[in-house]
């Protein structure tokens, strides 16, 4: 970095009075130009930061020489609240860290609490409804990532296409639990209620339609020449860098690392689904430029939508009638213990460390938020890039500020 900066630092300070007279006899005027770096606040209210986050950019002309994310504008003390409310009362707060994938957050918290309750059995129908909801929510979340990344780059149209299908997913969630964004549907012990009549059939219809529409997304943005030129070969995260920063999820797979918690450390029924050969793990392969660039990460997310559809289809095939919630009392008392469960959220590993002393309230409820960890890579990724690319790089990390700040 220091080399780049030295090259770009203009030096127009005259050493003596004589240098001011040009060989032609004309007098040249020098101005006292300040050549220090310019600091720009990108945010807290900037459309490309996807929420209230501020990135302090240090620029030398068009060149970014440093970037420092400043967080905390959306800090709502989720972990402290977790130590002050009952186990089930905390569930609605989990909706609000990554509000684009609330089902997955509910799931992560529920699985963590259930890991402390070895006697609790989760009915199979509940597990399958959980999987369907989590995967549908993953698609909805990836659609936002797809649409807003296009917006960041300057492509407005794909955003509206993405919201068309997302609207249907939200309507499906509204039918099953009454909420469109913050569901609190996946509970400790199972799910809140059974799917209404015809719901599973409509999910099947959605899958049929979505497979056709996915082709549209692909044509609109993924292979779009302008888009590819804006996103390839920038923001390259190597495998070592991804490990070093603890990246997970599509950020890690975009760098070509074949790791997905659903397959490699299976929870719920994902092992069975993988063994049935239903889905693949998409990886960044450097098809357009270098492995681990912004386009790779973006394309991993786009491909994951189709994999999720396959998982949903499998669940629809094997689901049978039965109870949807285990034997859980109204006021849950969790046996003493401590555990950590990490699940594959749309943005990476969402981990919950829960500690119970046997009472109605948690002693500690730690949230390991994937966006928080993934964002840290910006400090290393941005220096040396052009100012115009900084938006593309921030967009490719696909953060949700509700989750970074919690």
């Amino acid at each position: 970095m220091t080399d780049l900066k030295q090259q770009h630092t203009p030096s127009i300070q005259p050493s003596s009075e004589e240098e001011r007279i040009l060989p032609s006899g004309e007098r040249e005027f020098f101005f006292d130009v300040s050549t220090s770096d310019l600091e720009i606040n990108m945010g807290p209210q900037h459309p490309a930061t996807h929420g209230v986050m501020r990135v302090l950019l240090r620029t030398d002309g068009e060149l970014v020489t440093g970037a420092q994310p400043h967080l905390g504008y959306l800090h709502r003390c989720a972990e402290k609240i977790g130590e002050n409310v009952e186990w089930l009362q905390y569930l609605p707060y989990t909706d609000r860290y990554d509000y684009l994938s609330a089902m997955n957050n509910n799931l992560g918290y529920s699985l963590a609490v259930e890991s402390l309750m070895p006697e609790l059995e989760i009915p199979r129908r509940a597990t399958l409804i959980r999987t369907i909801c989590a995967e549908l929510n993953r698609i909805a979340s990836a659609l936002i990532a797809y649409g807003t990344y296009g917006l960041d780059i300057g492509a407005f149209t794909p955003f509206f296409y993405a919201f068309r299908e997302r609207e249907w997913i939200q309507a499906l969630f509204e039918k099953i639990c009454g909420a469109r964004l913050t569901y609190s549907f996946i509970r400790i012990g199972g799910v809140f209620n059974d799917a209404p009549p015809g719901w599973l059939k409509e999910v099947g219809m959605f899958c049929d339609v979505f497979e056709e529409k996915w082709r549209e997304y692909y044509d609109l943005l993924v292979e779009n020449h302008l888009f590819v030129m804006r996103t390839k070969d920038i923001g390259i995260i190597s495998e070592e860098m991804a490990y070093d920063f603890g990246l997970t999820g599509p950020m890690l797979r975009g760098s070509g690392v074949d790791f997905d918690l659903r397959r490699d450390m299976p929870y719920m029924d994902y092992k069975e689904i993988w063994d049935a050969g239903v889905y693949q793990i998409p990886l960044g392969r450097g098809e357009k430029g270098t492995t681990g660039d912004c386009w790779d990460r973006f394309y991993v997310r786009v491909q994951e939508m189709m994999e999720s559809i396959k998982i949903v289809r499998y669940c629809l095939e094997v689901i049978e009638a039965g109870p949807v919630i285990g034997d859980v009392p109204k006021v849950i008392k969790v046996p003493p213990g401590e555990g950590y469960v990490g699940i594959e959220n749309p943005r990476g590993e969402l981990g919950h460390y829960v500690h119970s002393d046997g009472g109605k309230i948690a002693v500690r409820c730690r949230v390991r938020a994937p966006s928080f960890v993934n964002l840290a890579v910006l400090e290393d990724l941005m220096p040396g890039t052009l100012l115009a690319d900084s938006v593309a790089i921030i967009g490719s990390t696909d953060i949700v500020v509700g989750e970074t700040d919690r």
Binding site: D244, E349, R368
Partner: protein, 171 residues
């Protein structure tokens, strides 16, 4: 590797500062032990945390490339210790390891792990502001989620909630 195999490997490597292995146990009515559910931890000395992290990352059979989490926990107001909780993941071997260290509240100082894992940087900043743990050798020890002028460590169990902030009443 399974948890026991990881512990055996650590012992075979003469990892410094391993205190004991804290495993879940079933409740016992005779001794009125309520038991402990959940997952096993390796209890370590806080001073040897960095050495153990080095071993875990560099050993071929452990090879935990990813630091998932560093955090603390304050079990009770009258407890003399904070708990430091570290979660490691091996992408290659597909195993996890959880470390736990007891850090006295009277002098909560811990060596920073940023030289081993860059991921530790933000986790440690959060842990420092929320629990008042000092990470020695941290390159950028500012607050991360809280304002720079925040007083106290909010996640401590004995934290007193402020009644006002810059003239804004919060009662």
């Amino acid at each position: 590797m399974e948890f026991q195999a990881i512990v055996d490997r650590l012992r075979a490597l003469n990892a410094p500062g391993i205190v004991e292995v804290d495993e879940p146990r079933a409740p016992d009515k005779e001794t009125k032990d309520k038991g402990r559910s959940g997952r096993p931890f390796v209890m370590i000395e806080p001073a040897s945390l960095v050495d153990i992290l080095h071993l875990c990352r560099d050993d071929e059979r452990l090879q935990m490339e990813v630091l998932i989490d560093i955090t603390a926990s304050d079990p009770a107001v009258d407890d003399a210790n904070l708990w430091i909780l570290v979660e490691l993941l091996s992408v290659k071997h597909r195993h996890r390891l959880a470390l736990k260290a007891l850090l006295p509240k009277a002098n909560p100082v811990l060596p920073s792990a940023t030289a081993i894992y860059r991921a530790a940087q933000w986790h440690e900043r959060e842990c420092a502001e929320m629990y008042g743990v000092t990470f020695e050798g941290h390159p950028d020890p500012r607050n991360i989620l809280l304002p720079d002028d925040w007083v106290g460590h909010p996640m401590r169990k004995d934290y007193e909630f402020p009644t006002e902030y810059h003239g804004i009443s919060c009662e």
